[in-house]
Symmetry: C2
Subunit: 330 residues, 2 copies
């Protein structure tokens, strides 16, 4: 296994400590139980947004803690759900009197542990379950659709709404709405390698790709020979647009996400291929995001996410944000 | 070769077009000759900063075009110097009457082509040659030391100074100063794969690393067995600090850069290991940057860069910047 590591058991702690030190202007890292929270408490009460999940998808979720986005994030071990005591500790640390809104990717382990964490709290709370992956119904770790790269779009837009002083119900309903407006699908060329396993999660041929892969290397729709970028994008877009059924002249956010091992050059090439398809269908790409935001350790591959935009989503996408991984207008 | 590609000859054009479309609020992409330039012309005359080099190091340099940093970037083919007509076209497009400052990484091909481009211009001009890599004197493509991840620190700080209306000589001298204050060194676990070659640039054993590697996969100081992260960082820091000989209580910027194939988790772990060493030496890490900024396509590995800070460098590091890959205070 070729990784920068001292002791496999210490990776998460050492990495989180470095993360806290590198961004001490924005956030704080607490250990045992582990959570990341905003450095600056909100000036007035607001709904506290808490997300989390297995580590290995960085910058998701800790990279999105800060003004305009999350109040806290709970990182589990690599590809393992965080434990309920993390959610409990984070919620008690960041709540400011307007309730807690959990944002959870739809994996059975995460759902269960977030529910157990919620039960330990004596605070008003709601949960948004993100399930934007259109590839498959049910999967290795999931009942229903998986939550993938669209999660950060929910976190950004609901985070912005929460800053305005909106109520817990308003934030919950808006998050469910953004989730419904969002579809994603990905493809992997290689497996990732989980440090504790020390070897690739799955085997794949030299000329094969996993079409519709999950962000932990879960199987997708099919294993097939690698195609051209345009062919891959056409198939991904077909699946996403079939799910979203956008209107003619629909405005969308187009997000091309890298899984960690694919160069930025290729991600921009994918973006261009996807934009051309949308242009041909009279769908307007009015917002865009390209980069490694929801990763799968060192997996080569990427995903495409489309969010149908309305005035409210645009307003809360464009608004100021100041986190380790996403910053604008501040 | 597992890449998102249609035709190898079209990768750069398709990727640049996507880059331009994804960031049309910040920059414009011109093709044949290829260059990236700021969308908004400066409000008052300023020194125009132009960088460039082989593609495959994204976000360097195009990702740093925008307010507070570069006026233009000239991308060559993958790992190949841009051609002189690119520099000529970019300079004629972005100059605003206060001269042109070229920022060039020290590779023989880049130096030669930037000089030829400069000769084609009838504009006042200077060149900063960045050579921050402390690993080796002379290398496969270089006479003298290589220019690596420290280049973006020169671009950020000189870009900020240029926004203040500073003269061409002031900008040139400040850039040379920042370069001198900066040292970098990297290590690779795997080779990268150049699309036109279709196979890894170099062979490396399953348990080996290239210590002091260049950003095109050039040999470094030695090929050896992989060590722990702390041991690797200790050796890298020894080499960098020997070169920079910082004073006691020196303030520094610590930049951990990923080569493209290494997860963010590991980069933060490296940051923590490096910071600990600096802490022990009473060197204060007062500014930090962790992420994939100067990449080598899909290479697994990373580099550490240290810049000794003074008041002027801090001022121009902290100042507003608005580019595709680096944004703050705007």
């Amino acid at each position: 296994m070729k990784k920068f590591v001292n002791n496999v058991d210490d990776i998460l702690t050492e990495s989180l400590t470095g993360f806290g030190d590198a961004h001490s202007d924005i956030l704080e890292v607490k250990l045992k139980p582990d959570f990341v929270s905003r450095k600056l408490k909100p000036a007035k009460p607001k709904v506290a947004l808490i997300s989390g999940g297995g580590s290995g998808h960085e910058p998701l979720h800790g990279g999105f803690v800060g003004y305009g986005m999350l109040d806290a994030a709970c990182p589990g071990q690599v590809f393992s759900a965080p434990t309920p005591d993390q959610m409990e500790a984070a919620a008690n640390h960041v709540h400011s009197g307007k309730g807690i809104l959990f944002i959870v990717k739809n994996y059975s382990g995460d759902i269960m542990n977030f529910e157990m964490g919620a039960d330990m709290l004596n605070l008003e709370q709601q949960t948004i379950v993100v399930n934007d992956d259109v590839a498959v119904e049910d999967s290795t770790f999931t009942t229903g659709r998986r939550g993938v790269a669209g999660t950060m779009i929910v976190e950004k837009t609901v985070g912005s709404l929460a800053e305005t002083g909106a109520s817990l119900d308003e934030c919950k309903n808006f998050g469910d709405h953004v989730n419904k407006m969002t579809g994603s699908m990905g493809v992997a060329f290689t497996s990732c390698t989980v440090p504790a396993a020390g070897k690739p999660t799955f085997d794949i041929g030299r000329d094969e790709m996993e079409f519709g892969v999950g962000i932990h290397g879960e199987p997708g729709r099919k294993r097939e020979k690698i195609k051209t970028a345009n062919e891959i994008v056409a198939e991904l877009m077909d699946a996403i647009l079939e799910d979203l059924s956008p209107n003619n002249n629909q405005e969308v956010l187009l997000h091309v996400n890298g899984f960690g091992g694919t160069p930025l050059m290729e991600l921009y090439l994918l973006f261009e291929a996807a934009k051309k398809i949308l242009d041909q269908k009279n769908i307007t790409v009015s917002r865009s995001l390209v980069g490694n935001y929801t990763t799968s350790l060192d997996m080569a591959g990427g995903s495409i996410t489309v969010t149908k935009l309305d005035e409210k989503i645009i307003e809360h996408w464009d608004s100021p944000v100041h986190t380790a991984a996403l910053r604008w207008k501040m």
